[in-house]
């Protein structure tokens, strides 16, 4: 009995510091984005923000035009995709026209591909949302406007305020926040496009396993009655 309690205590001890270090990361606490990766409306709005704004500099090369039709969470029609892709083949990924050299010359850094960005940053969609709505005036006055971001590590970000958040009109706040959340939702979706099916299948699997565990537990108890008898 004491050993069991000990094991449980150790289990908790073992997990706690890891869990705590996973949650608490240096830096400002991120804003919370209202993201629903099952919402076709939100993901489509996010796609529009992506193609209208982000694709000026960023690619999402693992997202193909065909995928925009095939994924049920986006499900564009053939016509909508044909409009979007112009000359590009269906199987090509979303790529920016901005070359790496031109980007480095204009911004000092090459804008990263965004196919996996929400998986590649702690906080995922919250991070994207916070960055897009995190452009402020530098209180120390050192970093120029448009490059000072509250949530970016070191505060100096090469990406110049894509949604024009800095000093935006009060009346536009709701729309800008919506755009930022929507594109975060889109990016969260395309980082792992099968996630919704995964969770649905997962529910069935867990249900089945609970049943299996129950049956095997009762079978074990039953068969071991022979042993307990002695």
């Amino acid at each position: 009995m004491k050993l069991k309690q000990l094991l449980i205590a150790m289990g908790a001890l073992a997990v706690l510091p890891f869990a705590q270090s996973a949650m608490a990361h240096e830096g400002v606490e991120l804003k919370h984005a209202e993201v629903d990766v099952t919402s076709q409306e939100q993901i489509r709005r996010g796609l529009t923000v992506f193609t209208d704004v982000c694709m000026g500099c960023h690619s999402a090369t693992y997202v193909s035009y065909k995928g925009l039709m095939d994924y049920p969470e986006i499900a564009l029609t053939r016509e909508e995709v044909d409009d979007l892709r112009e000359d590009h083949a269906m199987t090509e990924g979303l790529r920016t026209e901005l070359s790496a050299e031109d980007a480095a010359a204009s911004y000092g850094k090459v804008p990263p591909d965004l196919s996996l960005i929400t998986s590649a940053r702690h906080g995922g969609p919250n991070y994207v949302y916070s960055i897009l709505t995190g452009f402020e005036h530098d209180p120390d006055g050192r970093i120029p406007d448009g490059n000072f971001n509250e949530y970016f590590k070191g505060n100096r970000i090469a990406m110049p305020d894509p949604l024009s958040w800095l000093d935006h009109d009060e009346a536009d706040t709701a729309q800008l926040e919506q755009d930022a959340q929507d594109v975060a939702a889109f990016l969260a979706f395309i980082a792992d496009p099968h996630q919704n099916q995964r969770r649905v299948i997962g529910c069935w699997v867990m249900g089945f396993l609970l049943l299996l565990t129950l049956v095997l537990w009762r079978l074990k108890v039953e068969v071991w009655k022979d042993v307990k008898k002695h």
């Binding site: 270090s21 591909d113 074990k220 071991w224 042993v227």
Partner: protein, 405 residues
């Protein structure tokens, strides 16, 4: 059901040509096991299950994975692309990939519990010393396989983790530089490294399968230890493995699967412990991530390595911390096996478990002077544990061990 199969004509045909019946009887239906084994004895069968799962998922991943560091677009490479292709385009590729990633961590959880059982109940003592030694070999091969496997996605952590660890070999005098080049296939981690790590990653688990066979054979000769740590001489103290432990193991598998499938289907990254956040960034040989750490299951040894200011000392200590495991059966001479009856040893071994967790936590965290100091103390205790065992039996007043169960 097994009875019905064994009575069938087909089975008779096979048995005459293989001796299958004798094997099934001696290893399962008439194989005696102690009747008092607790659930800590389930982890061996679980480890075998996870090995099979890893090999299965690995083979199917290998149908699509391409071990090439050739650049494709931006920083993306053929290898990284092939993993994303598995995640997006291959039917159920996402599932097989997540099973493999979660399985790697699950393998170590299960094996660490299995080792912990061995330590606590004295399963490494006479006559099971060789069984323990084979087990340590298994642990080392597992760590190798995991290390090789982690390079394959060619993410930032893959690349830089491999760079750091292969750098370690460079610390060894005389042979270090050659060993490093041998491992890397070049002057830095690159395409040759990736290709050979893929080959070795495929090889090691198959080696494991063979060695696990030897591990089980060695076990079946000396038979299992038990929580009381005593030799069982009477027949009433034993029960046949089938059906009692086959069913208990099956129940254990179901419970394990509950945890495993929770992670596979609902949290495969496990907050960055199973699949690290930085590994979703493609490898960039010109930019080191802010914080390099190995995957959680290698962190204790990473701390031991970093506890020494001298690079060579660190490497030797890390190697030593694994090598000393081989010596355990010969360092601990107490006649009493189970910690239940060894009050001093019990405290030491519990402290050892906590110590390894602390080492792991520190290995995972960014460097800080406080943590480094605690890490050094923890490293000291890690080694002290083994050396103290030499003298503990001399003064430990063991509790009276029961006659039977």
């Amino acid at each position: 059901m097994l009875n019905t199969i064994m009575k069938s004509k087909l089975f008779g045909w096979v048995d005459r040509r293989t001796g299958a019946e004798a094997i099934i009887k001696s290893q399962l239906t008439e194989y005696p096991a102690p009747k008092n084994l607790n659930y800590m004895w389930n982890f061996g069968s679980l480890a075998l299950l996870v090995l099979v799962l890893q090999i299965l998922t690995g083979i199917f991943l290998a149908m699509y994975y391409k071990p090439s560091a050739a650049m494709t677009y931006g920083h993306y490479t053929v290898a990284f692309d092939s993993v994303e292709r598995i995640m997006r385009d291959v039917n159920f590729g996402w599932l097989i990939r997540y099973m493999h990633a979660v399985g790697a961590s699950a393998f170590f959880v299960v094996v660490y519990m299995h080792i912990g059982r061995g330590l606590y109940y004295g399963s490494y003592k006479e006559p099971r010393e060789l069984l323990w030694i084979i087990g340590v070999v298994i642990l080392l091969i597992m760590q190798g396989a995991a290390f090789f496997g982690y390079l394959l996605p060619w993410g930032q952590m893959s690349f830089w983790g491999a760079t750091v660890i292969t750098n370690l070999f460079g610390a060894l005098p005389v042979i270090g530089e050659y060993l490093q080049q041998l491992l890397r296939g070049g002057f830095a981690v690159g395409d040759p490294t990736l290709n050979r790590f893929f080959s070795l990653h495929y090889l090691f688990p198959l080696l494991l399968a063979a060695i696990v066979g030897g591990h089980i054979h060695a076990l079946h000769v000396v038979h299992s230890n038990n929580p009381e740590g005593i030799d069982l001489t009477k027949d009433e103290e034993k029960i046949m493995f089938h059906p009692y432990y086959t069913i208990k193991d099956a129940f254990g598998v179901a419970v394990f699967l509950l945890g495993y499938c929770y992670f596979v289907f609902f949290n495969p990254q496990a907050w960055g412990f199973f699949i690290e956040v930085d590994n979703y960034v493609p490898a960039n040989s010109l930019a080191t991530p802010a914080h390099i750490a190995p995957v959680w299951y290698l962190t204790p040894w990473y701390t031991i390595l970093r506890s020494f200011p001298d690079k060579l000392m660190g490497v030797l200590a890390m190697g030593g911390s694994l090598a000393i495991l081989f010596a355990l059966p010969f360092l601990d001479r107490s006649k009493v096996r189970s910690a239940r009856y060894r009050p001093v040893f019990k405290q030491m071994v519990i402290l050892f478990f906590i110590d390894v967790v602390v080492l792991g936590y520190i290995g995972h965290s960014p460097v800080s002077p406080t943590l480094k100091l605690i890490g050094q103390i923890a490293t000291a205790y890690y080694f002290a544990f083994f050396f103290l065992l030499l003298i503990v039996p001399k003064f430990e007043k063991t509790k009276p061990v029961p006659e039977g169960i």
